[in-house]
Symmetry: none
Subunit: 184 residues, 2 copies
């Protein structure tokens, strides 16, 4: 048996993040304390066992195995500025690190609710733009080209080309994009 594993590391992290000892977690999840110890040291475990343990966190299997995604509750910004939000019609733009107007680059954290769109009259402005889908699916139209992108997919284009975004999926789409120069 391996000395450690991704699962064990993740469990340890989760347990400690919730301020629980092995015994407390064992009690909460109805598992023996010895089992927790073995698993945290890299032992194998059944899916149902993992489910029971996560139940004491609490957390779902889906959450546990989720490709990690942007955290919520924004905190300190190293850039000393706040994160500002511009939201309308299910589309939300968050200017990461605050408004950097006048700077050469702007990072945005965007979310598109299911069905949300920037509108079919496409946007046009100066600069360049690229982004990467974190979760969900987004249909991107640039000029006459349309592509539906999923997690891990990316786009890049000159902003002078007419472009629009739409979430045709059933789940929220989140992405990170960068554009230059800032247009907001």
């Amino acid at each position: 048996m391996p000395r450690t594993s991704d699962i064990s590391q993740k469990l340890i992290m989760l347990r400690k993040a919730h301020g629980l000892s092995q015994r407390k977690l064992a009690k909460r999840s109805g598992v023996s304390n010895g089992t927790i110890s073995i698993i945290e040291n890299g032992g194998n475990l059944t899916v149902s066992m993992l489910k029971k343990i996560l139940n004491g966190i609490p957390m779902s299997l889906s959450q546990f195995f989720a490709e990690d995604v942007v955290g919520n509750d924004p905190k300190i910004f190293f850039s000393k500025t706040e994160l500002t939000e511009l939201s309308e019609g299910g589309v939300s733009f968050k200017q990461v690190g605050g408004d950097l107007y006048g700077k050469a680059i702007q990072l945005l954290s965007e979310t598109y609710a299911p069905g949300a769109t920037t509108g079919h009259h496409a946007l046009r402005h100066d600069g360049e733009e690229c982004g990467m889908i974190l979760t969900g699916y987004l249909t991107v139209t640039v000029g006459e080209k349309t592509q539906t992108l999923g997690p891990g997919d990316a786009y890049y284009f000159h902003s002078s080309a007419p472009h629009s975004f739409k979430n045709d999926g059933i789940e929220v789409c989140r992405l990170i994009s960068a554009c230059t120069p800032p247009t907001f």
Copy 2:
């Protein structure tokens, strides 16, 4: 043992969707055929076993447990270019959408293994740089300022200031950053 379960149902669906018999899937994933049968009838199974089986589909644990059962294989890059990786010493830079040298902007998907660093002799180059932590923690030093950032946190600075990155945590740190102009 239950006569059926969500996991077994999902596995059956997946196997059939790929036109595989129990024996074929067993062969592909290096598992005994009997085990497949038992599991499909609701038997319990270890996480590593599930991983092995999914390996023959193929599918990741993350995908298997994902809430959405939408299509997979994200591959196409809307920018028509490939994602290239530059990795050394636990630090990995992935140029999202390929090398955009000559363009005004470059999006990077970066990962820092626990303990990994860009080196204490700080980097200096032209342009501006900003990024956002997705998972894990990263200690960012710019000039004389040092800050440890977590998920959702962001940084922004002029690249001409000496800067370095280090993962002091115990888990992998992943972030998305954008810089201009590209320096790779």
